[in-house]
């Protein structure tokens, strides 16, 4: 199997604007949105009727009927139905992990080109029947006699009508992601002001990027929405300071709806290919995928922060590539919460953490804020879980193409104590 690997180019991306929960896409399904994102990509690169190596995408919140979500979306798109597809699911890391899966196959020469991405809806969420009722129905299915079935019917209780809603909570701790991050925020001593500053910058930078037409070739309007619905161009730390905390307790609570990402609907995809494939079609690469690293942490015992896995992944990624944290022109740190970003920066500057947890002689170092999330990130765009990776990869690739040189770092934290990170370099 050993063979030379080839370079993997990011040729571009497409996403639909992200909508707030029960906003513009309240009645759109994951399949609708992923199909729309794919079709926008197809038209941008004239891929109508083309057979690609594969399409890999996924959703975090998924109906059980969507067992073949990506394949179904592909069949509804303008791509050739002869393009294979499969679903990927790694919580908020889905989009980036899908990108890496496709990129690795291209690198190995197994395929020449593929699409990766993700979609999520919090509006058209799967609602399951009550677990008690489900068990009862399953038992009825196993029971042969009519009398036995009637007896089971007698066990029906009004409370069993209450459906089970998907929860944004860790199954092993019962705590929501926000509650987990509130613990981390306090542990790392992240202030309210720091968080609000990050949030305001995210909105202002995203608005500026829209104004200069940065997203003209990264986004296709959908259902009447032309920009991210969550974007507040006039956001300031002063305005954000007025919001009431929603996670954490007492006077120390600092996390608000303004400095945490809202529930969002949307989809994003990226086009990846070998240089040869790109050249044949005269599609100029924006950037190349250099390397990636995924990490997981022990958050159930409380030893690590739930959203702290990237703190471990990035140092390993840097070491393998003989790079220092300062060697990047752009940093894309997914803003699950402003405090997650602040925590990440703080941890890498912290001698104790870097020595005890990362085993480094010196702190990893600081990140220049002027190179961090320069066009805003999830606090402003919103965060349809599986769609975030595709959004970030395409955004960073275009930033690198505009600059014409340099490299960028991506860091995405995910539920379950995981983190996916990657390096792109300019083409």
């Amino acid at each position: 199997m050993a063979r030379d690997t080839s370079k993997v180019a990011v040729l571009g991306g497409n996403r639909i604007p992200f909508a707030r929960q029960n906003g513009s896409y309240a009645r759109a399904s994951n399949q609708d949105m992923l199909t729309a994102a794919l079709d926008g990509l197809v038209s941008r690169f004239a891929l109508g009727g083309e057979v690609l190596g594969e399409v890999a995408a996924g959703a975090v919140l998924k109906h059980s009927r969507d067992l073949n979500l990506t394949r179904e979306a592909l069949l509804g798109s303008a791509l050739s139905p002869r393009t294979p597809a499969y679903d990927v699911q790694q919580a908020c890391g889905t989009g980036l992990e899908a990108t890496l899966l496709v990129a690795n196959k291209i690198a190995l020469g197994q395929i020449e080109a593929g699409v990766a991405g993700g979609v999520d809806t919090t509006s058209d969420a799967p609602i399951e029947i009550n677990e008690d009722l489900r068990q009862l129905l399953l038992e009825a299915n196993r029971t042969r006699s009519t009398v036995g079935r009637l007896r089971l019917l007698g066990r029906l209780r009004p409370g069993q009508i209450v459906p089970a809603l998907p929860r944004n909570a860790e199954p092993r701790t019962g705590m929501s992601m926000g509650e987990h991050q509130a613990v981390s925020t306090r542990r790392w001593g992240i202030t309210r002001a720091e968080q609000d500053e990050i949030a305001a910058a995210s909105h202002q930078r995203l608005a500026a990027a829209y104004e200069r037409g940065f997203f003209d070739d990264l986004l296709t309007p959908y259902l009447g929405l032309e920009r991210d619905q969550n974007l507040r161009p006039d956001s300031t730390p002063q305005k954000l300071a007025k919001l009431r905390p929603v996670f954490g307790d007492g006077p120390e609570a600092t996390m608000t709806a303004g400095n945490s990402t809202p529930l969002t609907d949307g989809a994003a995809v990226v086009l990846l290919a070998s240089d040869r494939w790109a050249k044949e079609r005269s599609l100029p690469p924006l950037a190349y995928v250099v390397d990636a690293e995924t990490a997981a942490v022990d958050f159930t015992s409380g030893a690590d922060d739930l959203l702290g896995a990237p703190l471990y992944a990035v140092p390993r990624l840097l070491a393998r590539n003989r790079l220092a944290i300062g060697d990047f022109d752009f940093y894309e740190i997914h803003e699950a919460f402003a405090s997650q970003v602040a925590m990440t920066l703080k941890a890498w500057e912290d001698p104790a953490f870097c020595s005890e947890r990362l085993g480094l002689d010196e702190p990893l170092g600081s990140i220049d804020r002027e190179r961090l999330n320069v066009n805003g990130s999830s606090l402003a765009t919103g965060h349809p879980f599986a769609a975030t990776g595709g959004r970030i990869v395409a955004t960073l690739a275009k930033l690198l193409a505009e600059r014409g040189s340099g490299r960028g770092l991506i860091s995405i934290c995910a539920a379950g104590g995981q983190g996916v990170t990657a390096i792109l370099e300019a083409a």
Binding site: A36, D39, G40, V42, S43, R44, F45, A46, G48, G49, A78, G213, F215, D216, D217, L219, T220, P221, Y222, L223, E226, S282, L283, P284
Partner: protein
């Protein structure tokens, strides 16, 4: 695209009532469908003594596969179906007295022209006429053709004057094909000039059904309406189409591009970087553009006294300045391939003016000026620049007009009906064809011979 009035007066009852009331009955005009012959019936070819276009016309007609007659057969003999087209070389008419020749030729034949028939008068350029008398006579043909157009329009037929420069005789086939065919259904009363060009500048498409095979075309405003039809038609003719529209129209644009296997390019053509971005797209993805169709346009109608500066500025910026800038960028960077085609969409409003459209009419008259200035540079590089000027076309834009104005717009033309976006698109496709290399600097109206500005 529903014209309820036309359906009503075409019904048996409506016809009877309409006739009694003297209402106009719009003819059902035949439009091109794939597989249709260029011309369905016999073509009668005649000419005045001294004309030099008859041989070229005959060759072109034979290449088209037309059944050419040299003289009118006796009525009732082998022209049971009548005549599909009358083509007459009037280039030899060199005095006003000799204009009698067109009367002599057409007067007895006009009644034998079938519905959806075609009248084409070939002539010389008045400027090249050998004498003052010849120049006057050649100029006079314009009035003749325009009147014939109004007379035959009631049956869906059209009439055109094609002026051919000395040295342009061998370049008439693509124009004859277009004018004879159902592709020119809504074009009537037009004067089209054909330049002298070197023989090598005139390409003959290998396949007249796919003349744009291997060519790259950019169409602005391609998300809907006329632009969408242009993109579809150029793709049908074999072109790889880059569909351009503002980012806000991206969803519709993407759907159009995917339907025709083209590319969607979201671009605000009024942006300062629009020219460079479009040019970069050409360089990176295709190396060049062969065809550029400046179609994007907006209206912000209001009488001049009430018009806001923004309403003035936005219309001029979208409809005119963008066309100038993008054309200049593509020409400066030499990205319009040899044999390149620039087609600008003007408007009958730009010719006639229109109440409440001072901004729009100014921009669209400016487009005609742009084509006049581009024709020279285009000629130098073996390219062409032309304009189409649509009249009343059934689109979402005209659907939004008040009923009275809309009905007047629809009926006040020789065909008594509105045109379809496809009618404009077919005209653009003819100008974009590699066979139309000698059609340069023209403004061709697609208006059913509207009374406005005629």
């Amino acid at each position: 695209m529903s014209d309820r009035y036309q359906s009503l007066v075409s019904s048996p009852l409506g016809k009877a009532v309409g006739k009694r009331l003297g209402l106009p009955v719009p003819p059902r005009i035949r439009r091109h469908e794939p597989g249709m012959p260029v011309v369905a019936g016999p073509v009668l070819l005649g000419g005045a003594r001294g004309g030099g276009l008859r041989d070229a016309a005959e060759d072109a007609l034979r290449s088209i596969g037309a059944h050419v007659l040299a003289s009118a057969p006796d009525a009732g003999e082998d022209v049971r179906g009548g005549l599909a087209a009358l083509v007459y070389d009037a280039g030899g008419i060199d005095s006003s007295e000799r204009l009698r020749a067109v009367y002599d030729f057409f007067s007895p034949l006009l009644r034998r022209l079938e519905a959806n028939g075609r009248v084409i008068v070939l002539a010389g350029l008045p400027a090249e006429a050998g004498s003052a008398g010849a120049a006057v006579a050649q100029r006079a043909l314009e009035g003749f053709v325009r009147s014939v157009g109004k007379e035959v329009g009631a049956r869906g037929s059209t009439a055109q004057l094609v002026r051919v420069a000395n040295g342009g005789e061998r370049a008439i086939e693509s124009t004859l094909r277009f004018l004879l065919s159902a592709r020119s259904a809504y074009v009537s009363g037009q004067v089209i000039s054909i330049e002298a060009r070197d023989a090598e500048a005139i390409e003959t498409p290998g396949d007249w059904e796919q003349p744009l095979d291997g060519r790259v075309a950019a169409v602005t405003g391609a998300a809907r309406g006329i632009g969408e039809a242009i993109a579809e038609t150029l793709a049908r003719d074999g072109a790889e189409v880059v569909c351009v529209d503002v980012p806000a129209q991206g969803a519709a644009l993407s759907a159009v591009a995917n339907r025709i296997g083209g590319t969607a390019l979201q671009l605000d053509i009024t942006g300062a970087d629009a020219g460079p971005r479009l040019a970069d797209h050409a360089v990176h993805r295709h190396g060049r553009f062969d065809v550029v169709v400046h179609n994007a346009g907006i209206t912000r109608d209001r009488t001049l006294a009430r018009m806001s500066p923004q309403e003035w500025d936005s219309v001029i910026a979208v409809n005119l300045t963008s066309q100038e800038r993008i054309s200049a960028e593509l020409l400066d960077r030499d990205l319009l391939g040899a044999g390149g085609r620039i087609v600008c969409v003007s408007s009958v409003s730009g010719i006639a003016g229109n109440r409440g459209q001072a901004n729009y009419a100014t921009s669209k008259a400016g487009v005609i000026g742009l084509v006049e200035t581009l024709a020279g540079p285009a000629r130098e590089r073996g390219a062409t620049a032309n304009a189409v000027a649509p009249g009343f076309i059934e689109t979402a834009m005209t659907k939004a007009m008040p009923l009275g104005i809309r009905e007047a717009g629809r009926r006040m033309n020789s065909l008594a009906q509105g045109g379809h976006p496809a009618d404009v698109a077919e005209t653009v496709a003819w100008l974009a064809s590699p066979g139309s290399g000698a059609v340069n600097g023209n403004v061709v109206r697609v208006c059913g011979q509207a009374l406005l500005g005629a």
